[in-house]
């Protein structure tokens, strides 16, 4: 596989005792975290890894320790702090150019995040379930009317979350080519720094214009809310509000879309598990199945990046103030202490304590929405298309090894 090449960072001039991060997955198994990551977890106390730029942050792999650190106020998510472990040159170049709540610490983080929490409350999201079901049904109608094979990513996995987040934000879906193009640049690793900044700016510029329009003519959506309640009052600048909008737009697209497509690959490889979703109709069981798929796939596979702001004792070592920290949720979600036989996809297990959405104050804001979207998708797709099958071998699929979010670039299917 060519993907492994992008995983390897050349450090010929700096010989090092540390393992390089990220590590490559085993050839042949697209779902399991890299074997070297597991060795790191099983190999004893917390240790350091080496990143592309030669820096050596700590790698945290145990579930309890990842949770403890992500919930620790002595850890910062601010990439402009010295010692922060940047995932690549593009991310480093972007650090500090654009501050949204995701890269801020409390109290600034809490103040900004609360401005956009309302639409993601459980009851509000539950009220959207019928509309989400309708979108799913419509997309599948269109897909089924086409002659196969069809790319499930383009026909279904991406348009669904895209339509939903556009509706919530008040962004015209007709522009999806434009913002999908730019979001793609933002979630790819090792992109050209100039290109990353340009994509980020293009999105923010676009949303800033849209916000200005909404100020004059508000609708019932998040951008209108930000425009009329925050920008008009001077609480936020139009730029800051646009930055928040672009964060939600990007996050809403890439995560759910990849869960749908990668989840489908995983289920097709586990027909007994797929049958549970196809034949069952208990909403509780479907909800549990979604949690297990979230745990098993943990698509945010680069790890959550932090920097210690004070000395922290954990797992027999002392992280010093200024040390970078990578919290590897993917391997933590395979921790046998918490999830017996962790490498087995078992839709009937209780996986609620997974940390696929992260942990601590930065835990995913959109998770209630993601859950409902995935519940509707997984309980509809295989029932409506019981003969769904890959139109190509699994080994032919292009997996997103070079992404921040894991998934497949295309998913050709037939039925």
């Amino acid at each position: 596989m060519t993907e492994t090449e992008t995983e390897t960072v050349t450090t010929a001039t700096t010989p090092t005792p540390h393992a390089e991060y990220p590590m490559a997955r085993a050839t042949g198994c697209p779902f399991d975290p890299p074997p070297a990551l597991r060795e790191q977890r099983d190999g004893g106390p917390i240790s350091r890894v080496r990143l592309w730029d030669g820096s050596a942050p700590w790698l945290i792999t145990r579930h309890d320790q990842v949770r403890a650190l992500l919930g620790d106020p002595r850890i910062s998510a601010d990439p402009s702090r010295p010692g922060y472990p940047h995932r690549d040159a593009g991310a480093k170049a972007r650090a500090g150019t654009r501050q949204t709540f995701i890269t801020m610490d409390d109290p600034g983080h809490a103040r900004l995040r609360r401005m956009v929490t309302a639409p993601f409350a459980i009851k509000k999201v539950e009220a959207m379930r019928p509309a989400i079901q309708r979108i799913v049904d419509d997309l599948l109608d269109t897909m089924l009317a086409a002659p196969g094979p069809v790319d499930l990513v383009e026909a279904f996995a991406l348009p669904l979350p895209s339509l939903v987040i556009c509706e919530l934000l008040g962004v015209p879906y007709e522009k999806h080519d434009f913002f999908q193009k730019h979001t793609k640049v933002l979630v790819r690793r090792n992109g050209d720094p100039q290109e990353v900044i340009a994509a980020s700016e293009a999105l923010i510029d676009y949303l800033e214009d849209l916000l200005t329009d909404k100020l004059a003519e508000p609708g019932d959506d998040i951008l209108s809310d930000l425009a009329t309640k925050r920008v008009a009052t001077g609480e936020l600048t139009a730029r800051e509000a646009a930055e928040m909008g672009s964060l939600l737009l990007a996050a809403g697209h890439e995560t759910t879309a990849n869960m749908i497509a990668l989840g489908t690959v995983a289920l097709l490889q586990h027909p007994d598990q797929l049958a549970l979703l196809r034949d069952g109709d208990d909403p509780k069981e479907i909800a549990a199945a979604v949690e297990e798929l979230l745990r098993y796939l943990t698509i945010v596979h680069f790890g959550r990046l932090r920097v210690a702001v004070e000395d922290i004792e954990i797992g027999g070592v002392t992280l010093r103030a200024g040390d970078g920290v990578i919290c590897a949720a993917d391997i933590a979600n395979r921790d046998p202490e918490l999830f017996p036989d962790p490498d087995r996809l078992d839709l009937t297990r209780d996986a609620r304590r997974h940390i696929a959405f992260g942990f601590g104050v930065h835990q995913c804001l959109g998770q209630p929405l993601a859950r409902v979207e995935l519940q509707v998708v997984y309980s509809t797709l295989y029932r409506r298309i019981p003969t769904l099958a890959l139109a190509t071998g699994v080994d032919q699929l292009r997996f997103k090894h070079d992404g921040v979010i894991y998934g497949v670039y295309e998913l050709p299917v037939t039925w």
Binding site: G71, R114, T117, K123, R352, G358, Q363
Partner: protein
């Protein structure tokens, strides 16, 4: 069992409501609200799950 919450800490993830809907709700901004602070025994396990999954340590219990 007595349920306590610290609303300023809450990040509106909704995890508590999913785990123990009989005990927790959210206000208009998604911030946690306690419906019954002394839940009946049948809900105790769900409440403990809420405490375990709350990402912000905004919920805790006082056993009495």
């Amino acid at each position: 069992m007595r349920v306590k919450v610290d609303q300023p800490k809450c990040v509106a993830s909704g995890q508590c409501v999913l785990a123990a809907p009989a005990v927790f709700d959210q206000d208009d901004d998604g911030i946690v609200q306690v419906l019954v602070d002394r839940p009946e025994a049948v809900h105790h396990e769900d409440v403990r799950e809420s405490v375990a999954v709350c990402p912000a340590a905004a919920i805790w219990l006082e056993e009495e």
